[in-house]
Structure formats: C-alpha cells, structure tokens
Subunit: 166 residues, 2 copies
DNA sequence: CGGCATCCTTAGGGATACTG
DNA sequence: CAGTATCCCTAAGGATGCCG
C-alpha cells in the first residue's frame, strides 16, 4: 500500500499522480448516474414512488425521458420492474429499489445536506428534513473511518493498494 | 413539524405527498452539479489539481468544456480563481476549492464508496482508498443523526417543518 | 500556459400524439 | 395506466485552430 497524496480541500502541490480515469470509481459511477433525470428518479424511488406516471409527474420529467431512464436504471440493477396485481385489477408493473439502488441513499442525502447548507433553500413551503425514527433527530451524512472516528476533510489520505488489499 | 412519510428503501405506499420539485434541495443541487464534467472537475479539485491544463488532462475533458465548467463552478462559488506568481514567473491563475466546494466531499466519497461496492471496480491497477491520516483506517460516508446514532435506510422519516424550525 | 472561437456530433429532454 | 413513436430544441462534449 502506497500513500499517494493528502487531500486537503484547499490546495495541495499534487504529487504527479493521476486518477487513472478509466477505472476511477467516480467516473464509473457517473456512467450510471450522471443525468439530472436519473437523480430525480432515484429521489422519487426513495420517496416510495413506484408507478410510471408518478415518476413522470413527481420528478417533472417527460414520459420519454422517464421511460428511457427507468429502463437504464433497471438494466443497471438500481431498480427492478416487477408485475403485481391488486385483487380485481389487471396486472400492472411497479419499480422498486434494489439493494444496490438503495445504497445510493448517502449520495442523495449528501446532496440534500449540501444544498440546504449552501443554496439557501429558504423553504417558503417549510423545511424538509430527514429524521431518525427512533430519536427524532436530524440525519445527515458524514465522513467516518472504520475505527469510527469522525474524519475532517484535511485528515484524508489517498492510498493505492497493490491488488487484493482491503 | 409534520411527518410526511417513512423512507423504507423497499416500497412504501406513499402518502400522497409530493416533493414540491421547484424547491426540492436535490433538484436545486442538480442545477449546479448535474453534468459528468462538473463531477470530474470537482474530483480533481479534491485531488489538488489547480491549473487549467491539469484539469483538462486529468479529468480527460476538452478545453472548451473545462473552460465552461470552471467558469460555472467559480460563479457558483464552489471554486475560486486566483492569480499567483512564482518568483521569476509571470502571473498565472489557479483554481481552488472554496469551503462551499469542499463541503461537497461527502457526495464524492459516497459515489466512490457506492461504485466500489457495486460496480466491481476490480482495480487491475490497485485499489484506491481514502484513509484516515491518524489511524490509517478506510474512510467512508454513512448516515448518522444529530444524536450520533448510526441510521439505517429503513429508520428514516421525512418531515416538513413549518418555517423557522431546525 | 490558459484559455476562447468555431464547428460538429451526440445525448438529454420537452411536446404531442398514439397504442395495448 | 404505462408506455412508444415522432419531432424538435438545447445542452454536453470532442476536435481543431488561434491568441495573449
């Protein structure tokens, strides 16, 4: 394992290393989630939206876009499309989060948190908040290490481990 | 304060509430960060990249795109463009993260974490990891409430508070 | 070195109309 | 309700060349 550079937020002389973009995890994640509509659809999925028309209406996107994005997100395994039928009804389909999709929640929450902190969402309609069901406190995302320390931006190192390392 | 719905990851009957998309924090954040190039530039900024040509080369984007995105990110206040000069050189400019920009780090780390967990970044060139400088342990993002409990996806409530609430 | 101008291609996305 | 088909526009992004 080799320490590549120190992330400091503000400035760093840079060690000459580069992100090998072809396999940079961020670049790869962006292959799946890079469009506005993808984020909005995932947002809705977290809110419990499951039907096509609801995605269209609530994310405020057009049908063709919703159809295209849903198809992609299903094929990427973030959502599943499954048939169901209520007692007297015909068979319908609904979209549900997979575990893979649900695991994106920290990213979404990170965006919410950042937006509320910096974009003065003056919330003329009230302030949206995520809360811990058990204790009622607000929920956010934060950096934390495996030893359970809270980690500040300036305390991060970027390392590259040979092959089978953790 | 009013509880709107329970986020469960998998399915929820949905309470009829909608995200009022015009002021949805996610939608607003996406006005700033919705393109691949914006994420890649921010990634590079975290890695310490500061010069125009380095952004172009390391993020693997074209000059016009880099110029456009850098201009936007500066005007949005995520980066600052500042002149500097080394002893015998002419004045140059560099781009640095602002606090607002640096605060986006959890989102980036969330993407890295998700990508490594689900996109089998088999990392034929080694595995990238963020580590806590003090203890060397790997760093990730997680949901946590103000009372410092770790929060699972299914333990989240979405609430809407009247106006000046926290 | 740090861009901007130009041109081009592709992807994202809206509107409308139609179908099972 | 859940899409598909068509058409059109705009934004994202690459390639190339020029310029202070």
């Amino acid at each position: 394992m080799e320490t590549i550079l120190h992330l400091t937020g503000p400035l760093d002389p840079r060690s000459g290393w580069r992100a090998s973009p072809d396999r940079c995890p961020i670049a790869r994640a962006l292959d799946v989630m890079s469009t506005r509509s993808a984020f909005l659809i995932m947002r809705e999925a977290f809110y419990g939206t499951s039907r096509f028309d609801d995605f269209v209406g609530r994310a405020e996107i057009s049908e063709p876009v919703a159809a295209a994005r849903l198809r992609e997100l299903v094929s990427e395994g973030l959502l599943v499309r499954e048939p169901y039928r209520e007692p007297g009804q015909r068979t319908r389909h609904r979209y549900r989060l997979t575990e893979k999709g649900a695991d994106l929640l920290p990213v979404l929450v990170g965006l919410i948190q950042w937006s509320q902190r910096w974009l003065d969402d003056d919330g003329a309609g009230g302030v949206l908040a995520l809360r811990h069901r058990d204790c009622g406190e607000r929920v956010g995302v934060g950096l934390r290490c495996a030893a359970d320390h809270e980690v500040a931006v300036g305390e991060l190192d970027l390392t590259l481990a040979a092959a089978g390392a953790r």
